[in-house]
């Protein structure tokens, strides 16, 4: 890709997010969100939206310096405040069935440095239920994609010269988004088709439990009777297919939050709100994480998971095979969008109601948090256990067995 101009590289990434990711339809309003430093990619995305027939592109920039001004100088009532029209916007998105494209990448941690952690912690806009409704009722076709930036490149490749770090990050993003293929969409269609078929075969077994075994790991994750693995794309209520994450390499479901037992060792470093955890080890008993240890940073994860009852229970289990280009790179991106697709992972916190049905909807884990961490690797075996106790190999050496 290095022979392409930067504009052309942005155009290819933008085209993938607009056409394949969100699948923007003629006449749609599209909300494009990103950090104030993502403007070049935002412009490219907006241009592709209009070429795809969008009626309006709504820019939704966030600027951490404005947040800093609020934390530093705002009165108490300004912390966590939301305008009435921010709800109006979300209602419009649901009623008019917008497309939504969000760009994700590392931001400069120094912008918020030195601020009162208490005010910073409370400055979460009230959960905008209108947005949750738009997504959960599948009224919007949406995607989240990566936006390579100098700041992010510095976080991922801190020992390199800035230009070289950015060039490498771009190359890595292009690799994991399959933009190095002649026809990236065809490549994704094939990969996601394979993943959907694999998820279907896993679901056909109606496993009761998944068993992870490897160095430092011997963990059983119980599933709910209706837990269904989902992969690839999603579809709006009106039948517009879209891919919520680009890239995506996982088949995931929501487990039984009361039936997780054993020990697990994280296979990748984990970034929790700017703190990096290494050598993470967690012991579960009857669904609860009863011991959280790490070579560094364990106290941050202990504090986060103590936030509510569901914080120490699982909301997600996801399977990723060795074909994942993110896993193959071995790079830690400190960005969940990419890192969670590197390897099999579990998440402490909120589950996904659309992965289950019937009475199970009320049994999934509920929490304010959702923290993914990687537990898979080539030397971690994954085995499915059926209700009658039969053991079926699922992943061996990173390769699907079914």
């Amino acid at each position: 890709m290095a022979d392409l101009t930067i504009d052309e590289r942005r155009r290819r990434l933008a085209r993938l997010l607009v056409g394949f990711g969100a699948n923007v339809q003629p006449g749609q309003t599209v909300m494009v969100g990103g950090d104030i430093n993502d403007r070049e990619l935002v412009r490219a995305v907006a241009n592709e939206c209009y070429l795809a027939g969008a009626r309006f592109v709504e820019l939704n920039y966030f600027d951490l310096h404005i947040k800093r001004a609020r934390i530093e100088f705002g009165g108490d009532e300004s912390i966590g405040y939301a305008t009435t029209w921010s709800y109006e916007q979300a209602r419009a998105a649901a009623a008019e069935k917008w497309a939504i494209i969000s760009l994700s990448g590392g931001t400069d941690p120094s912008i918020l440095a030195g601020l009162d952690p208490d005010r910073l912690g409370r400055d979460n806009s009230p959960v905008n239920t209108e947005w949750l409704k738009a997504v959960s009722e599948q009224l919007v076709n949406w995607t989240v994609g990566p936006s390579p930036s100098p700041v992010w490149a510095g976080v991922v490749h801190p020992d390199m010269e800035p230009d070289a770090a950015l060039e490498l990050l771009w190359a890595e993003v292009e690799r994991v988004c399959r933009l190095d293929e002649q026809d990236p969409v065809a490549s994704w269609e094939q990969r996601m088709g394979d993943m959907v078929a694999t998820a279907g075969r896993i679901n056909d077994h109606r496993f009761d439990t998944l068993h992870f075994q490897g160095p430092g790991t011997d963990l059983e994750v119980g599933l709910l009777p209706s837990s269904r693995f989902i992969s690839g794309g999603s579809e709006t209520a009106d039948g517009i297919p879209h891919r919520p994450n680009v890239p995506s390499e996982e088949a995931f479901t929501t487990p039984d939050p009361t039936r997780v037992n054993g020990e697990v060792r994280a296979t990748r470093p984990l970034d929790v709100g700017g703190t990096v955890l290494t050598g993470l080890r967690v012991r579960f008993e009857d669904g609860r994480a009863v011991a959280i240890d790490a070579d560094q940073g364990a106290e941050v994860l202990r504090a986060r998971t103590a936030i509510d009852d569901g914080g120490v229970r699982l909301g997600e289990v996801a399977l990723v095979d060795g074909e994942s280009r993110i896993g193959q790179l071995g790079t830690v991106f400190y960005e969940t969008l990419l890192d969670e697709n590197a390897a099999c992972h579990i998440a402490l916190g909120q589950g996904f109601d659309y992965c289950v049905s019937g009475d199970d909807v009320g049994r999934i884990n509920a929490s304010q948090i959702h923290i993914d961490f990687m537990i898979g690797d080539d030397d971690v075996d994954v085995t499915g256990i059926t209700g009658s106790g039969d053991r079926v190999p699922v992943l061996r050496g990173g390769a699907w067995q079914l």
Binding site: A46, H65, A69, R70, E72, G74, G75, Y81, W85
Partner: protein, 399 residues
Amino acid sequence: MDDLLTERLAELAVGFGANVQADQIVMVTAELGRESLARAVAAAAYRAGARYVDVTYSDAFVRRAKIENAGDDAIGYAPPWHVERMKQMGEQRVAVISLEAAIDPAATDGLDPIRLGADQSPVRQAYLRLVMERLINWCIIACPTPEWAARVHPDLPVDQAFELLSQEIARVCRLDEDDPVAAWQTRFDRLTEISERLGEHRFQAIHFSGDGTDLTVGLLPSAEWACATFTTADGISHHPNLPTEEVFTTPDPRRTDGVVRSTKPLNIEGTLVTGLTVRFEGGRAVAIDADGGADVLRGRASRDDGASRLGELALVDGEGRIGALDTVFYSTLIDENAASHIALGSGLGYLVKDEGSKQQVNSSSIHIDFMIGSPEIDVDGVHDDGTRVPVLRGGEWQI
């Protein structure tokens, strides 16, 4: 512009321009590239006790993408919630601070003038209503940017051009005074005095003559003269344009006659209209010609019935700091304060105190100012009996 000037400019916009009140919500609108001042304004507004500062960034290059590549249904469209937002902003009596600069010409060069002219958002009309009904305390303030500087000083390296423009804006915003607010207060006292005298004369028309211009603008008997100090319906005084040097009124949209030649280039969202001449008959602009860009102004002036009639008449004397710099800023906010000017489009209804006469004020979805004054243009007031009183000669007040 260094951090200190940026902060002084932000403090002027918040404390004197919009006059942000404790517990108000403040909307800040800025093009990309104006983040430094937007952030300084946000900080100043929070220091002034703002409840919340909502910063909205826009991007002229995304607009360009729309004009170039979008379908016809996209031109002039905005999601209806944008209008609803304006309504709620009025109900909640917010403060609004807009950062003004000339946009990068690369954002508009070569665009189809018809599509560009037709791309007028309905939100603009909703915003003008907030202004006319005096629901918001607001301020447009000049924001130096490198792109703007390159436009104003094309012969200088961009960093020197930016430094010079920053100094010029500091000068015209009176930031070089020890106490900029006190300096502004003195200037406003003088402009208030002039507008009161103009009002006492009860002229039936104002006549401009010289240098290719012979234009008579009829006045409404019940319309007042004012300078740019406003008070909201709730009594918050504010200064909507910084800098400002003008005294103005809203004229009779049926009684403008003659020919006027623009004395400075006019920038319509990035398209430069040069050498503009407009002929008026019975209040209507019946001929719009220019050396360049006439079609964009013609497009705007044909948007609705009121778009070809006048909504504003403003007089500027030579004491203003802008005219003295003799710089063309390619920005109406500043350039209109260098010289006397008129505006096509919506009028200023609040200047008409008599309810029965309010419907005589021009109504339109546009409001485009262009400069018609210079030291070479004589301005006279015309009484009902036809007698003439000199108002401006060589840029100096005569009344």
